[in-house]
Amino acid sequence: MLLSLDKTDTRPLHEQVAGAVRRAIAEGECAPGDRLPSARDLSEALDINVNTVLRALRELRDEGLLEFRRGRGVTVAEGARPHSELQIRVQGLVAEAARLGYSRTDLIDIIRGLP
């Protein structure tokens, strides 16, 4: 699998790593059931602290994209691909709304108001 990080990105590193893995899943770089490289491997290759990588992986697990299994490492969860695509679009929406001056609460209100 190919992971890509933007060196000029100013977001916190753990968000960037989570974003890179999310994008890899959305683009089919890794399929459900595939084993992810270990956190140590990721941290060495990306030159990022291992705890930061672990934090990113935990976020993705909480989103339901990854599964942590004892003895089998971190694997991509079943049905993670459409899930990660949706996640990416929601994040884009939140960013776009913030640019236009809407807070997250405003956004939630808009969504609630939808028919």
């Binding site: 699998m1 490289p37 060495e44 290759a45 990306l46």
Partner: protein, 330 residues
């Protein structure tokens, strides 16, 4: 390219048939001067033979071993096109043929003019001479192969097939790939169990200890080796190419981007590199876990390649090439 393939096939066929003729013919030619059964095996301590075969078996068994070896080794040469280039068959067939033919000659020589196979004596100097000849033949074959590859491979491996990946400005790309061979894992588990069983039997005093220790040592070593080479991880990052083996990621090898001349993807089969696991052949070093795509790199200043069988090798090679190109050469 094509004419050398035909020439190589002919050479392999002639060598195979010639050695077969020597192996079967030698005992038959002098059968009047040989005993009914031939001594074919001697213990390590030397003098008294501890194994024998009837004349026909002594004539056929080495020939069969030879034919099977030769068939396995030359199968890719006969089947595949010229690009497969299994020139390493020279390295295998030359010494193997010499060892078998030499052993057959030694057996015949030892049994010559003996009334009974128990009287046959194996001259130790023969063994030394045969092994020396085989090692020399292997070395010569190796030199021939590497020189031939060095001459023919120099042009093709440079820039032609070494694609590079476009790295957008300000992006950091890393590539991971991992291959697992479940059969090697199974083999590791089975031999591991056998080792434990042997150890338990030894501790429990179920059988005599010498053979059990040997069994334990053999199985434990086999299990350890198969578990180490049952999986392989390759990763390409700004640190270069890193290949690590087994569940612990150890041992491993690493090349900085500047230490690599070219990287490419290639289709290889276990039969071409001499089997599964960590293989050294005429194609260089190959970490072979399954037939298929391999990431092949030529380390700087080396005349042989390092290859590892991983999926998606093409992009890995491309990324490695662009990382290599993007850096100032030291």
């Amino acid at each position: 390219m094509k004419d050398t393939t035909v020439a190589r096939r002919t050479t392999a066929a002639v060598w195979t048939l010639g050695v077969t003729a020597v192996l079967t013919g030698l005992p038959l030619v002098v059968r009047d001067r040989l005993p009914d059964r031939l001594a074919t095996h001697w213990g390590l301590d030397g003098d008294v033979p501890n194994g024998s075969m009837p004349l026909w078996a002594a004539s056929l068994v080495p020939a069969l071993i030879w034919l099977v070896t030769s068939a396995v080794v030359t199968a890719p040469l006969m089947r595949a096109g010229p690009t497969a280039g299994p020139s390493w068959s020279t390295v295998t067939l030359l010494p193997t043929g010499i060892v078998l033919a030499g052993a057959q000659a030694a057996v015949v020589r030892a049994n010559l003019d003996r009334a009974d196979w128990h009287e046959a004596r194996q001259p130790a100097s023969w063994v030394v001479a045969i092994l020396t000849a085989a090692v020399l033949a292997g070395a010569v074959g190796w030199l021939l192969v590497t020189r031939r590859r060095g001459a023919s491979g120099g042009g093709t491996t440079s820039a032609g097939d070494a694609a590079a990946l476009d790295i957008p400005e300000g992006r950091r790309l890393v590539w991971f790939s991992r291959t697992v061979n479940p059969w090697l894992q199974l083999l590791a588990a089975v031999t591991g169990l056998a080792a434990v069983a042997a150890l338990v039997a030894r501790v429990g005093g179920l059988a005599e200890s010498g053979s059990l220790w040997a069994l334990f040592a053999g199985c434990a070593a086999a299990s350890l080796l198969s578990v180490l080479f049952s999986s392989v991880q390759a990763r390409v990052s700004e640190r270069g190419l890193e290949v690590s083996f087994g569940p612990f990621g150890w041992p491993g090898r690493r090349w900085a981007p500047g230490d690599i001349d070219t990287a490419r993807a290639e289709y290889r089969r276990p039969a071409e590199v001499g089997g599964w696991g960590y293989r050294i052949s005429g194609l260089g070093t190959t970490v072979m876990l399954r037939a298929g795509e391999c990431l092949v790199v030529r380390p700087r200043g080396r005349r042989t390649d390092f290859a590892v069988s991983v999926d998606d090798a093409e992009r890995g090679a491309a990324l490695l090439n662009s990382l290599r190109g993007g850096r100032p050469r030291r």
